[in-house]
Symmetry: C2
Subunit: 170 residues, 2 copies
């Protein structure tokens, strides 16, 4: 008799200092992040590691693996309440190990963030992204998760690079 | 013979630490700023005073008066390059002494910011404000300065309080 395939245990938990290096490696392997984007993502992460919830950059990692000694980070999400709003949150960053794309890890991270936001009394989740063709997969990913295009700011990031603003009522 | 009226000398210069207290008083007297908004404005100002240009919150004060010993602050503007964009700047704050409204001080501050942004290679200036009726004067002020509504985000600040995004190509 064959053993039934065991589903790897996947958890999402607050990021701790020991996660920084594997997360940096994961971010640098994501092909459509520029060096500046990786640095910006790590700046937010460092604020979280320094001051936690007070930073406004709530950061959670997703990890996988049955052996507690060999668990590895498969993705992360960073979001926070938008200053001067009542119940609006921004997604600052979400990334999944580039070798593990399209297996639901990213959708699980978004769903986790949505649940956390609702627990904190949030009502609206905003996501900004680029209109560049290299972000087409990202746009499809947000649309699949139920986000609607709320606005488009012409040439915001650069000439011929608009900002797309997605939102979802929670 | 009557002396010709002397136009008070008005200058706009980088904010220094000695300006913080008069600026705080000025901000607290602006009727449509909440306590939280004043605190947020001062947080940005403090970043500027701490690290200058590196803070990303370029802050300039406008002052008036012929007697150098009796000059006083009539307004201020705070703006900066938007991270991860090429040449896009955000207006973070602009305020004028509430006793001196509608005399062109605010328009002069905006024009000053636009010129500074152009000098720094900027191409687009973004302004966000609220759709609440108390901000109708603010909206008229930006429209007078040539800003166009680029997008409206429904219920962004709160229920029945949309975000209006204005922009101007420089």
């Amino acid at each position: 008799m064959q053993a039934a395939p065991v589903k790897a245990t996947e958890t999402i938990r607050p990021m701790v200092a020991a996660d920084r290096e594997p997360l940096r490696v994961l971010l640098e392997a994501v092909s459509n992040f520029t060096r500046e984007e990786v640095e910006t993502a790590l700046e937010l992460v460092d604020e979280w590691l320094k001051t936690g919830e007070k930073s406004g950059y709530l950061t959670y990692v997703q990890e996988q693996g049955d052996d507690p000694a060999a668990r590895r980070i498969t993705g992360y999400v960073c979001f926070g309440e938008t200053p001067l709003t009542v119940g609006t949150f921004d997604l600052y960053w979400v990334a999944v190990d580039s070798a593990l794309r399209s297996r639901g890890h990213g959708q699980a991270l978004l769903k986790f963030a949505e649940a956390e936001i609702k627990n904190r009394g949030g009502r609206l989740f905003m996501i900004e992204t680029s209109s560049q063709p290299t972000y087409a997969g990202t746009v499809a990913f947000y649309e699949k998760a139920g986000y609607k295009l709320a606005a488009r700011i012409q040439e915001f990031y650069n000439e011929r690079d608009d900002k797309l603003i997605f939102s979802k009522k929670l």
